[in-house]
Subunit: 347 residues, 2 copies
């Protein structure tokens, strides 16, 4: 049997543990999985592009477990009352191929993306960073703000979005969820970025945009670039990358999808897992500029699915569904089908 | 909302329509989709290999719909009471990325593989073929035998499997399902193939096996080679391909996974859709030998998912599941989550 977790199940998990604890646990799962990076069979995700968006499949496996995520990116969706990003995914046993867990991943993707940003910022941002600019105030922005507030000690967020209603929504949500977090409304990206320790960009437009330009940068800044994540969708000026130390998740995928798509093929980057395992350096001074060119990698969804499975087991959530047949004789699929069919017809 | 179809729902569909009608309808859906082949965004499936099996993702899309299948292949599974092949998949709207249907595809894969074999044999086998050798009598064999009996007029099947119990199971099932179909037990593949009009191989071993050798071939035979479908898993001697006209589904994938993996990169093959659209020739004489080097292509699963959706709608089967959130304000995923979480906590 396969366990199904719906959006309602995942909301229940968050209700019981609270979002700060979910983010905290997931960072621990992510760090554990990124430390054993070489054990995983990794591949750049497959993407089906259309004029209005993209649909992707993100598989990853180690010797015992396989996972994949289905995820879309449609910036125009909010006009039709749908999320820009929707996702679901599964875990399967490598030994047998049996799918063991099928889960919603829309809510979960927002949690895991923020947790991944925190994992990177722990390695790359200046110690005692207190102020974060947050450019793009859509569906993922609360998760970024709260994860950085609770886990990294950010005390002030400086908000900007071309859609003022989105910023208002974010401010209201943050006031309720984290009263101690100071919120500043800013008139422009430039205004928001000025004086920030960390600059988080999480905009939705599928365009080669310049959200952050090089002349906005200040010594010691860490740029957490989340929104540029597919060909033709970037947020940073190329000059930002040129004057920074750039970190990525899985280099072959980031070359295609990340801010990195703007740079020559030999532009130097460091995979984040190497910093975690101390094979490479993170930040080494309080003046250098660091960029986490985040696109979202399948391993992060594997970590998130592991966490959901563990939480669901603890809380006895989810229900079993007949996604694959359970048969007395596995070579007799036909007999099983006819038996089930006859039983249904008689019922 | 996303509609979920379980194995029980699909068994019910088969119970209502009967397997011959399901095969007949699916051949029509397949032919319609293969005829509009150039409209689809096609890619070879991604495969995660382990020492005991493979797990694959098979996406395909046109301008309006996206589909994918998750499927494994683990020949040792039957020893643990599990199917060799288990599968599920989904349909999504290209315009929004919304997943509209999530369905079991284990039973359905057996139906669609047989229907695809029939579609090919209609183009490639000799008219008035009456006798089919069926080598490999496992989970898919009944579907092949019955589809060829009902749709192509096969009157006799000649069975062989290294596992005699599998052959006994097949014979019992066929006697019940199709009393008019003559069944012959054969002592070897060579014995089964002798005098057959069509030779269907559907064995499970992940090995470069020689199930059919060139000296077993007779003029005019059509070989329906189904079991060789991943690197290191073949059923035909290379010499069989050398003396035949070879047809494939999607050439780039078949070069990697099919019998074709044994041949030079420039070995000539014809994609099946070109025969359907009359851009290429199928069989042109009663003496030539034809091979359908079937590996299973994503478009076939799209056709099958379309059919399931239509049947489920007709019969009002399936249930809605909260696989993705339904939100009043799609930019307020956080507010939605907290609202749902609070409601669940209060409940």
């Amino acid at each position: 049997m396969t366990t199904l977790l719906t959006t309602v199940d995942v909301a229940k998990i968050v209700a019981v543990h609270g979002l700060p604890e979910m983010h905290r646990r997931l960072v621990a799962y992510l760090e554990a999985d990124f430390r054993r990076w070489p054990e995983f069979d990794k591949t750049a995700r497959t993407a089906a592009h259309s004029p209005v968006g993209v649909i992707e499949l993100m598989p990853v496996a180690n010797a015992s477990e396989y996972s994949f995520k289905f995820v879309n990116g449609h910036p125009g969706n909010t006009k039709h009352g749908l999320s820009t990003v929707m996702a679901f995914g599964a875990l399967a046993d490598v030994e047998t191929g049996l799918p063991t867990l099928l889960s919603e991943l829309t809510i979960t993707t927002a949690i895991r993306t923020a947790a991944t940003s925190v994992m990177a910022a722990k390695l790359l941002a200046r110690k005692n960073s207190k102020v974060m600019a947050l450019i793009g105030n859509g569906a993922q922005s609360e998760f970024q703000a709260l994860a950085f507030h609770h886990l990294l000690g950010i005390e002030e967020v400086r908000l900007f979005d071309v859609d003022a209603a989105a910023t208002d929504k974010l401010a209201v949500n943050l006031a309720a969820a984290a009263p101690a977090l100071r919120v500043r409304f800013c008139a422009s990206t430039r205004d928001a970025v000025r004086g920030a320790d960390i600059v988080t960009t999480v905009t939705a437009d599928k365009a080669n945009a310049v959200i952050v330009d090089a002349d906005m940068l200040e010594p010691g800044m860490h740029v957490n670039a989340v929104g540029g994540d597919c060909p033709g969708k970037t947020e940073l000026a190329a000059q930002v990358l040129e004057c920074a130390k750039v970190y990525v998740e899985f280099e072959p995928q980031s070359r295609i999808e990340g801010e990195l798509q703007q740079m020559p093929a030999d532009f130097a980057v460091t995979e984040l897992w190497r910093v975690l395992t101390r094979e490479a350096e993170g930040r080494t001074s309080d003046t250098e500029i660091t960029v986490f060119d985040s696109v979202g990698f399948a391993l992060e969804d594997y970590s998130a699915l592991r966490l959901l499975r563990d939480c669901a087991a603890e809380l006895r959530l989810g229900r079993s569904i007949d996604l694959v047949p359970r048969m007395d004789d596995p070579k007799d699929l036909f007999g099983h089908l006819m038996g089930t069919a006859a039983a249904r017809k008689a019922a």
